[in-house]
């Protein structure tokens, strides 16, 4: 493998400043419809951007956003003030656009540009100012922001606002960015993915160091990129011989990596958050796990060897300090799936069967109730497994995982070797009672709905859902909402309870935060029941019955 830094040809554009390049990249990624075009845009950006901006771009595209410099409320206030817009009208614009940063970018008129207009400052220059301003007083922030708004083009202003309010997201997968980078520096994508994971500070890490081998050794906390499965959309028979496959329950917790290196334990979530502090019970593992061990597993509420409803754990995840009571009521365990590193050696290339064998030995040595080897489901034929799968929900599992015994541990979502085979969702028929405009590609369309079931003569709201309809159906519902709503201003429209939808969801739990007394997991619209009227929808009793069966 070559040293990477020699391979970067910097074609620093003379005409375009760093923020312009970055804003154009974000725009192009947002509008290109073909993967190949997005890929080309990424490559072009890496070639043209200065090194400092490249580092920040990698950071931003892998979810490392700078903290919020200023609240959205302040941005809104200052923008309204700058252009003399009444507050209600700003709100109308915002509801229509669906995005605060874009609303501001559109509202402020773009100044005509002279030919000698200076090129924009770099992306890293702006982010450094943000970091400096974090501690400044409001007046200073305001001056900087208003000056920048006037100076930047509409497209740049959009990105500027996104970064400022820490709402920057980008519509390409991290793996596409990794692939572009890999192509540029001539390294394997998996190596790049590993190097840019973990804890590093974009303000102090030079580009060359980020991609050099030495830097990855320095960071002992670094997790491996997760291997993710696609949903199985065919009959399992299509996978071939049953004996080539291993079946496990699919658990619905926090997918994570448990890392023990240099005498220290690190717990990472799939979203690449370091969550070690959230699970003090895992401290026991620090002494018992051998150094140089990385386990892929699921963090689950686990009591006396039994998996509890995931909601039990959710109550303690958001907390800064975890009380003893919470530790008792919602004890966290780990279902170990895979072993990625042993004795400091990356073993992802070994066949899964072999990795599992080694994992089993480690789990046995640790010998703690909280570390459980994810049980394998024995089956002789697919039909038998199909029947077993139906029991999933009663175990608080959401279905099965099928893994090819010979498979390596891959990077990202890949087809072929690993499949998730979920059980059918729970469903209930409900009527839409409120609607709100969406954001992003649903801008200016009513796409976010609240649904109710019947409670005697009344309707009681129990869930929101905003996915599952086709664009055409959304357009029809949008039209209905516009013709049948009571309010003229503000984001939420109360609509005539007439449209009935079948709502699908993965789980149900008791909740005292919701009027209906239940909280659903992953609710979405399964289909529009045009054949049903509001008199035919389900009742609150039906929901309670489901809670009784599945909510424990």
């Amino acid at each position: 493998m070559n040293n990477n830094s020699d391979h970067i040809e910097v074609e620093q554009s003379l005409r375009e400043g760093g923020m312009t390049l970055f804003a154009n990249l974000v725009y192009e990624l947002g509008t290109h419809t073909k993967t190949n075009d997005k890929f080309k845009a990424l490559i072009a950006y890496f070639r043209n951007a200065e090194a400092g901006d490249r580092v920040w771009m990698i950071a931003l595209f892998s979810g490392r956003r700078p903290r919020r410099t200023i609240s959205g409320g302040k941005l809104q206030e200052w923008c309204s003030e700058l252009i003399g817009l009444p507050e209600w009208l700003f709100a109308e614009c915002y509801h229509t656009v669906g995005d605060l940063s874009e609303t501001i970018a559109l509202l402020i008129p773009e100044l005509p540009r002279a030919n000698d207009h200076p090129v924009s400052k770099s992306l890293s220059w702006y982010i450094e100012r943000f970091l400096e301003l974090e501690k400044s007083d409001e007046e200073k922030k305001k001056t900087f922001i208003l000056d920048s708004w006037r100076e930047l083009s509409s497209r740049e202003r959009f990105v500027f606002n996104k970064l400022l309010s820490s709402t920057f997201r980008v519509g390409v997968s991290q793996s596409m960015m990794v692939n572009a980078l890999a192509k540029l520096v001539n390294l394997e994508p998996s190596v790049i993915a590993h190097r840019i994971s973990g804890n590093w500070d974009p303000s102090t890490t030079p580009f060359e160091e980020l991609l050099s081998e030495e830097s990855s050794i320095a960071d002992h906390s670094k997790p491996y990129p997760f291997y993710l499965a696609y949903a199985l959309e065919q009959e399992p028979e299509a996978l071939g011989l049953p004996e080539e496959w291993q079946a496990e329950w699919k658990w619905d917790g926090i997918r994570g990596q448990i890392i023990k290196r240099n005498g220290t334990l690190f717990v990472w979530s799939r979203g690449e958050d370091l969550i070690t502090e959230k699970f003090p019970e895992y401290n026991l593992l620090t002494d018992l796990l051998p150094d140089g061990t990385v386990i892929d597993g699921e963090i689950l509420p686990l009591k006396n060897g039994e998996v509890l409803n995931f909601n039990v754990l959710q109550t303690r995840i958001g907390r800064k300090n975890i009380t003893k009571k919470q530790l008792d009521e919602a004890p966290a365990g780990i279902f170990a799936y895979d072993l990625l590193e042993q004795d400091g050696q990356d073993i992802r290339h070994l066949p899964m069967e072999e990795r599992r064998h080694r994992l089993a030995a480690i789990v046995a040595t640790v010998n703690l109730p909280l570390l459980v080897l994810s049980p394998v489901i024995e089956f002789d034929n697919w039909e038998q497994l199909t029947r077993t799968r139906l029991d999933a929900r009663l175990r608080n599992s959401e279905g099965l995982m099928l893994k090819r015994k010979s498979s390596p541990y891959q990077v990202g979502r890949k087809r072929g070797d690993w499949w998730k085979w979920k059980i059918d969702p729970l469903t209930i028929d409900a009527v839409m009672i409120y609607a709100q405009k969406g954001s992003g590609r649903r801008s200016n369309l009513y796409t976010d709905y609240t649904f109710a079931v019947r409670d005697g003569e009344k309707l009681v709201a129990f869930t929101k859902a905003y996915s599952g309809l086709t664009d055409k159906e959304f357009a029809q519902v949008d039209n209905f909402v516009k013709k049948n709503s009571l309010e003229k201003f503000g984001p939420v429209r109360t609509v005539k309870p007439e449209l009935v939808f079948e709502i699908a969801f993965e789980g149900i739990a008791a909740s005292n935060r919701h009027k209906s007394g239940v909280a659903l997991r992953f609710p979405r619209m399964l289909r529009w029941r045009k054949d049903k009227t509001v008199d035919e929808i389900n009742t609150i009793e039906d929901l309670k019955t489901m809670l009784e069966i599945y909510g424990k």
């Binding site: 947002g30 419809t33 075009d37 252009i83 009208l89 109308e92 954001s439 801008s443 055409k472």
Partner: protein, 350 residues
């Protein structure tokens, strides 16, 4: 009695016994322009600008059509009806209705920027102004036409460098002619979907559009070999976007020309490679300037963001009210993907 009343058939002038852009069949209809939500079939008599007549004939068939030039009053029961350019599309007109010292102006759809084709919008002093509000929010802030035209040309050049055809999506009456206008000097020939080609022929044959001022259109047919589309420019109506008809141009980039492209979410929803916020309607500032220029003391706001626009006018000291109409279903005015076929009758080619 009000000079104009808002009825369930449309805007009605009782003194003159005629309707303006009625959405149900009536005896006498004054038509502002040829888009299908303003010019509906079934009425007995139509009055419109001479440039609108060929379009009505094409779309509504043979009827009793009378025409009036701009600023040439026609008297109906003693009520003076005068058309003024609205700048929206070729022949589009505002309707001034004058009777016993009362002056109303119904704008239809309008655009204040002069596009060099449709006739320049002219503010008409009146007591009461009926305005559209399709883009009646301050986020709709158009770039000058010249600069959007430049963007379109730059985009086409970029596509050529990558060996791609450029498919521009524009509705056939109005937007298509403007897009062709943008291409003057850039390309000599443009391929066109049948619906756009038909409309263009109608406009040329009737003399509404002068031959030779816009690039020549070649109708896309199955006989044309695929190689001819390499690096070419094609214009197609929105209803063709995403259909198998588009496949023959591959590799191609698709650019949508519509005011809705101002907001990136709309562009993403349409799944276009590029969006050009080129509109035949006024932007926020255009609407405000038009209202102001009429000097009207009372404004009625029709289709679009009528709640927001009328509230803003009221707060600015101009008495304004909202009016529910059945306008706003032409292609540009519909924000979502077209799901009905009322918006434009597109003959699916081949």
């Amino acid at each position: 009695m009000s000079l104009i009343e808002f009825t369930d058939r449309g805007l009605f002038c009782p003194a003159g016994d005629f309707y303006i852009d009625p959405w149900k069949p009536v005896d006498k209809a004054v038509i502002t322009h040829g888009h299908s939500d303003h010019a509906r079939p079934g009425s007995k008599q139509f009055l419109c600008h001479p440039y609108t007549k060929p379009v009505l004939q094409l779309r509504l068939g043979d009827n009793d059509y009378q025409t009036a030039e701009w600023k040439d009053p026609v008297y109906m029961n003693g009520v003076a009806v005068t058309l003024y350019p609205a700048g929206h599309i070729l022949g589009s007109s505002q309707v001034k209705v004058e009777h016993k010292g009362q002056v109303w102006v119904v704008s239809g759809d309008y655009k204040v920027e002069d596009d060099g084709l449709s006739g320049a919008f002219e503010p008409v002093p009146c007591n009461t102004f009926v305005t559209e509000s399709t883009f009646g929010l301050p986020i709709y802030n158009w770039k000058p036409q010249k600069s959007i035209y430049q963007d379109i040309r730059t985009w086409i050049r970029g596509n050529r460098l990558e060996g791609k055809a450029s498919v521009l999506i524009a509705y056939s009456l109005g937007k298509a002619q403007r897009v062709l206008h943008a291409l003057v000097g850039e390309v000599d020939q443009v391929y066109a979907h049948g619906a756009i080609w038909n409309m263009q022929e109608t406009l040329l044959n009737s003399g509404v559009l002068t031959r030779g001022i816009l690039p020549e259109l070649i109708r896309v047919t199955s006989e044309i070999p695929k190689e001819n589309f390499k690096n070419a420019v094609i214009i197609a109506p929105p209803s063709a976007d995403g259909t198998p008809w588009m496949k023959k141009f591959s590799p191609a980039a698709v650019g949508i020309c519509s005011g809705w492209m101002q907001v990136r979410g709309n562009q993403r929803r349409r799944n276009a490679d590029a969006g050009f916020a080129l509109s035949d309607h006024s932007d926020w500032k255009g609407l405000l300037s038009a209202v102001e220029a009429t000097g009207a003391s009372r404004v009625f706001v029709t289709h679009g963001f009528q709640s927001a626009f009328s509230r803003y006018l009221n707060e600015a000291g101009i008495e304004a009210g909202e009016v529910q109409t059945e306008y706003g279903t032409d292609e540009e005015e519909v924000t979502q993907d077209l799901t009905n076929d009322t918006a434009e009758q597109v003959a699916t080619d081949e």
